[in-house]
């Protein structure tokens, strides 16, 4: 006979789980009581939001399912932001929440929250277990849905009495899903249509999103793009899928994308989308998005099609299957040479990438850091101006090398997510870039970093403002900096030292020379080469802005630049 809690842990092991993140409390205590000897390592964060973001970081960098555990009531509600984040960014995540005793459910018992109802619209699947016998099936099904198709979050709500109850355990369950009629793949007629569209196109482009990476289709995609040789750009989550040095690559697209990428997208007559949702940060004004384009959309999730514009040809299915199928068909025909169009579209791009042409000290600072990173490094960016600067300057061809909260835009993501990333990749350099606002949203996770001795490299771009909001206030609200002033920030170096983490500052003036002075270079080298946790606070110009910028509601062609 085994307790429900032991059965949960055995089922987790059967799903390949050996690392979980969580925070204990009353209704989940039996599970914690069973952890010792289960073969599962538990990472205690200092807040449930830290646990769920850490689980996300782990999942985003490995592709495995991340697991976060919390108790009922406030423990469960503190997971909600992370669950929403995982939904938006297609992260495989299983959240296990304790629940009050079954006979108390619905009575507003102490620490009772309807987490099942609360997360219905945020989860891909969820379940409130009603008997101990259900537990193996619930866990098997939860993991299946978290990792299958378009990955996403799952909530498993387990009443405490089920965790305490015992039964004869016959082993983990297997779950076989019902087939859905929409699970179709590219057929010969689709290939012929797509080839015909390409043959007619004068200005074709390719847009790469996270789906290309999540499906593991990056090698196939790169081979296809090498052959097509058409202007190509990536969403923030598509960064790394295409090598930045590829001659056809124009950088990031969207609100803070490159001029070349946005203009090519505006002018194209055929848009090939590979695993992207085409949200408003990518499209600008939907009614003026790629106004002359026919759209071919490679996508695993049919729900993402036609959200902004009707596509001429939907190609539904796993990109790891549909891209090679199309590539094989395309290789049998002679497609046009679009080198003239590529030259026009990419003309301005190389100058844009030259750091010497950039006066912005924060960009210089990030360039200096990024250029020192080993090839397998992972950058974890928080949300705000620093996130966009980091995305603009990201130059790695590592598909899972840039991790950020892109869809939900959840400030406070980076520090705990970096914990999960570093645990997943203990030998990799993990560079966590935050702003002064976001860092303080989960600053308590410095304790987790210290306890685990994780060699995470933490950077705060400290402009003493909620910078991105301030930028919008400057540009669109007549400089009314309402409640964005953080000039009374604490001393981050002192705070880090209180958590026993080495910290130092780099001034903006240090970035005024090119190349940087040897003393500054030494600071950066030592920071990145240390095998201890380190914090570097960069004093950023308070009113620095991120450009280019497509104002909200404008077309991609209506970018603002610094000189504007």
């Amino acid at each position: 006979m085994l307790r429900g809690a032991d059965i949960v842990l055995q089922c987790l092991r059967a799903e390949g789980v050996d690392l979980v993140f969580g925070y204990p409390g009353g209704a989940i205590m039996p599970l914690y009581d069973a952890l010792d000897g289960s073969g599962i390592r538990h990472i205690l964060t200092r807040h449930e939001q830290g646990a769920v973001f850490a689980a996300e970081g782990y999942a985003r960098t490995t592709g495995k399912v991340g697991v976060a555990i919390a108790t009922s009531g406030p423990g469960a509600t503190n997971l909600v932001t992370g669950i929403a984040d995982a939904k938006m960014d297609s992260v495989p995540l299983v959240c296990i929440t304790g629940q009050v005793r079954s006979n108390l459910i619905g009575t507003d018992a102490f620490q009772e929250t309807d987490v099942f109802g609360l997360t219905l619209s945020l989860t891909k699947w969820s379940c409130l277990a009603r008997s101990i016998e259900e537990i193996p099936e619930v866990i098997a099904q939860g993991f299946h849905w978290a990792r299958s198709g378009r990955p996403g979050p799952v909530v498993l709500d387990l009443p405490v009495d089920l965790l305490k109850a015992t039964m004869e355990f016959r082993g983990p369950a297997k779950f076989t899903p019902h087939a859905k009629p929409a699970d179709v793949h590219i057929g010969s007629s689709s290939c012929e249509t797509l080839i015909a569209l390409l043959e007619q196109a004068k200005k074709p482009v390719a847009l790469v999103g996270a789906g290309a990476k999540l499906s593991g289709a990056v090698p196939e995609l790169r081979r296809l793009l090498d052959d097509l040789n058409i202007p190509t750009f990536a969403t923030v989550h598509g960064l790394g899928a295409v090598p930045p040095e590829a001659p056809y690559y124009l950088g990031m697209v969207g609100m803070h994308g490159t001029r070349a990428a946005n203009m090519a997208l505006h002018e194209t007559d055929l848009l090939l989308v590979f695993g992207a949702r085409l949200d408003d940060r990518v499209t600008g004004d939907p009614s003026r998005f790629a106004p002359n384009a026919r759209i071919v959309h490679f996508e695993i999730d049919p729900a993402q099609l036609d959200r902004v514009r009707a596509c001429e040809l939907p190609v539904i299915g796993d990109l790891a299957e549909t891209i090679p199928a199309f590539h094989q068909a395309a290789s049998r025909v002679s497609l046009p040479n679009w080198s003239d169009w590529r030259a026009v579209a990419g003309g301005a791009e190389r100058a844009e990438l030259d750091p010497r042409g950039l006066a912005q000290p924060t960009i210089r600072f990030l360039d200096e850091l990024f250029s020192r990173l080993p090839a397998d490094s992972i950058i974890v960016a928080d949300v705000g101006q620093h996130q966009m600067w980091a995305a603009q300057r990201y130059r790695s061809s590592s598909p899972r090398g840039f991790i950020t909260s892109g869809g939900l835009g959840a400030m406070g993501f980076a520090l705990p997510a970096a914990v999960g990333v570093q645990l997943a990749k203990p030998d990799a350099t993990v560079l966590c870039v935050s702003g002064d606002g976001g860092f303080q949203m989960n600053i308590q996770e410095l304790a987790t970093v210290h306890r685990l001795g994780l060699p995470v490299k933490l950077v705060i771009v400290d402009n003493k403002y909620l910078g991105m909001v301030r930028q919008w206030q400057q540009l669109f609200y007549k400089r009314n900096y309402a409640e964005t002033d953080l000039s009374d920030n604490p001393d981050f170096v002192a705070i880090a030292k209180a958590y026993k983490i080495h910290a130092q500052r780099v001034s903006e003036e240090a970035m005024s020379e090119f190349p940087v002075a040897s003393a500054t270079a030494d600071v950066l080298d030592r920071f990145l080469q240390s095998r201890e946790p380190e914090l570097l606070v960069f004093d950023c110009q308070p009113e620095a802005n991120v450009f280019p910028m497509v104002p909200s509601g404008a077309a991609l062609s209506e970018m603002m630049f610094e000189k504007d």
Partner: protein, 107 residues
């Protein structure tokens, strides 16, 4: 107005997920009827939606794990079943207190 018929396995929360796809868009739900049909369930919704919303809703419903079929059709003669208002109200209403009783209680 457009009628939608959605077939689903009646697992936990599936009907609520179907309805959430409507409510998150701020759409009114003038008519909903869910019923068991042999081995599956069917919910019929009457909604005032434009063609773009129709497409989005159908795709969102189809993406729900236990939804098996989604169909959109012309408005039908969907009428509300007469509600049974003769049962005892719940929660029970307060007993009427006359003015004199109230005054006596407050004296």
């Amino acid at each position: 107005m457009q009628v939608f018929h959605i077939r689903y396995r009646n697992t936990q929360g599936t009907l609520m997920r179907i309805l959430n796809a409507v409510s998150r868009r701020g759409l009114d739900l003038p008519y909903v009827q869910a019923e068991a049909l042999e081995h599956t369930h069917n919910v019929t919704l009457l909604l005032d939606v434009n063609p773009k919303q129709t497409g989005q809703l159908c795709r969102d419903w189809h993406a729900i794990v236990d939804v098996t079929d989604v169909r959109a059709g012309a408005p039908e003669d969907v009428t509300h079943a007469a509600a049974d208002w003769t049962a005892t109200p719940h929660p029970p209403s307060s007993a009427a207190i006359s003015d004199s009783t109230t005054r006596a209680a407050m004296a």
